[in-house]
């Protein structure tokens, strides 16, 4: 919940008003999108265009029997660099499950002029990225999912349910050997494929902030 709770902000401001705090003109602000992602619920559908202009719709993949992994991406963020360059976490994990009905999708919600914006093609080349990177420069889909960090990971089951939201692993400081880290996405995918519930469905994501438009 914690990562997604921002989006229910509007409702709760009402409580603050009841308490008598000098009536704020209810800051429905940034979180005011109607649909929002919540683990255990149907994942909000979206259509975005990739760096080559091709449209991708989430429900097309799930209707096609795919489990979808969403990865919030910014090639300029050192935490992203860690998982593409120092380690090959994203390449390894996406490749491991590619033959198991898993579609990996990266999303860049950075606004024009912000770090990483417009650099996705370079990243694809430099890091041999084999999955699409979708462009979300308005931040609409990022806000819908409550994506805060790069990376920030989500898994959508074949039936369209959001079954995982959180970090790529349990080692924000990069203090463990690669083999000792718990890769939460791989762990969840193993469980999903085995038909068992995801044991850690929400973890704390870590990384740079998503470079949203104001």
């Amino acid at each position: 919940m914690r990562n997604l709770s921002k989006l229910v902000a509007g409702a709760v401001s009402a409580a603050a008003i009841a308490f008598g705090a000098a009536i704020v003109s209810a800051p429905v602000s940034a979180g005011g999108h109607e649909e929002h992602a919540e683990v255990g619920q149907k994942a909000p559908d979206f259509t975005l265009v990739d760096v080559n202009g091709k449209e991708h719709t989430l429900s097309d993949y799930t209707n096609d029997g795919k489990i979808v992994v969403l990865e919030w991406f910014n090639s300029g963020c050192p935490f992203v660099v860690r998982h593409y360059d120092k380690y090959t976490t994203m390449a390894d994990t996406s490749a491991k499950y590619a033959g198991k009905d898993v579609q990996w999708i990266a999303i860049n919600s950075g606004a024009p002029g912000k770090q990483g914006h417009g650099k996705d093609k370079e990243a694809i080349e430099a890091w041999n990225i084999e999955y699409p990177i979708l462009i979300d420069e308005s931040g609409k889909v990022g806000h819908m999912y409550g994506a805060k960090t790069t990376p920030h990971m989500y898994i959508i089951h074949k039936d369209g349910t959001l079954v995982y939201a959180g970090g790529i692993d349990n080692d924000p400081r990069d203090s463990m050997p690669y083999e000792s880290k718990i890769n939460y996405v791989a762990k969840a995918l193993d469980e999903i494929i085995a038909g068992t519930p995801v044991s850690e469905a929400e973890t704390r994501p870590y990384g740079c902030s998503v470079k949203y438009a104001k």
């Binding site: 902000a9 603050a16 705090a21 300029g76 935490f79 770090q115 704390r204 949203y212």
Partner: protein
């Protein structure tokens, strides 16, 4: 998970080398000419006294416009981390973190940060076995994530050498005073600050206050509903909703109470302070 963010002090973080080494040129557009943080160690005492105590400050001087992170960094970032290699006869305790500032980023992301300078205080205990006349060198390594628009990881080795003497003079310099002034204490007088908690919200009441800021700690099983809007109040009261399990007996975080133009800092521990 929790441990990594809260017990950032020492044991957990053994031999972290700088993640900066992870970066290769190519994708990064430009390289900054110098790192935005430089670190140093400062002691409040001019010597260690056998059997005595002192305080070390890890000081990170931060370039204007940049910031680094509190023990709970918020929704992004990483807390400052320090690991010490204490010599025989010297014990270094857990860090004391002065209260941070709130920083709301574009798109509604809330972080807890330090600007200008980040100072962590470490209690130092000298064993009675230390010999007067000797010298002691304390070495440490600090690492952090520093951000402006973009973020850069950094790390630096720091050290300080202190003589061992039968007595020492402790100068409470402006640095230490300023830092200690932002350390939260238990609420002593409940007529000045009331903390209470019900099933779904935390309430702070501070008569005469012109502002209250809440700096929560991080819990896996508890989340605050709208910390951007509700974690800050311009009046005498602050109410912030939460979801999930209230960790019994836990310190939920810290508050800053602004009263008469001055800030006071308190630990938010509803059970212990008689609320709830």
């Amino acid at each position: 998970m929790l441990g990594q963010f809260v017990a950032v002090a020492c044991a957990v973080c053994l031999s972290t080398t700088s993640p900066a080494s992870a970066q290769k040129p190519g994708l990064k557009g430009k390289k900054a000419s110098g790192h935005p943080i430089s670190a140093r160690l400062v002691s409040d005492a001019d010597a260690l006294v056998p059997g005595g105590e002192a305080t070390l400050a890890l000081v990170l001087d931060i370039r204007s416009g940049w910031y680094t992170y509190w023990r709970n960094p918020g929704e992004t970032g990483l807390p400052v981390n320090a690991v010490f290699d204490a010599p025989e006869g010297v014990e270094i305790g857990q860090p004391m973190w002065p209260a941070p500032k709130r920083k709301v980023l574009a798109g509604g992301i809330l972080d807890y940060v330090y600007t200008g300078q980040a100072v962590l205080l470490f209690p130092v205990r000298a064993s009675g076995s230390l010999q007067a006349g000797a010298e002691v060198t304390i070495r440490g390594s600090a690492d952090w994530l520093v951000c402006e628009e973009s973020c850069i990881p950094g790390s630096q080795e720091v050290s300080i050498t202190l003589p061992v003497r039968a007595s020492a003079s402790t100068a409470s310099s402006e640095l230490f005073q300023r830092t200690r002034a932002r350390l939260a204490t238990r609420v002593g007088d409940e007529s000045r600050v009331g903390i209470s908690v019900d099933d779904s919200a935390l309430e702070i009441a501070a008569p005469g206050a012109t502002g209250i800021r809440f700096y929560p700690f991080y819990f896996d099983e508890l989340s605050f509903v709208d910390p951007i809007a509700d974690g800050e109040s311009d009046g005498e009261q602050l109410r912030i909703g939460f979801e999930g399990e209230f960790p019994s007996g836990a310190v939920l975080g810290e508050i800053e109470v602004i009263r008469g133009g001055k800030s006071e800092f308190y630990v938010v521990a509803p059970d212990a302070s008689g609320g709830g």
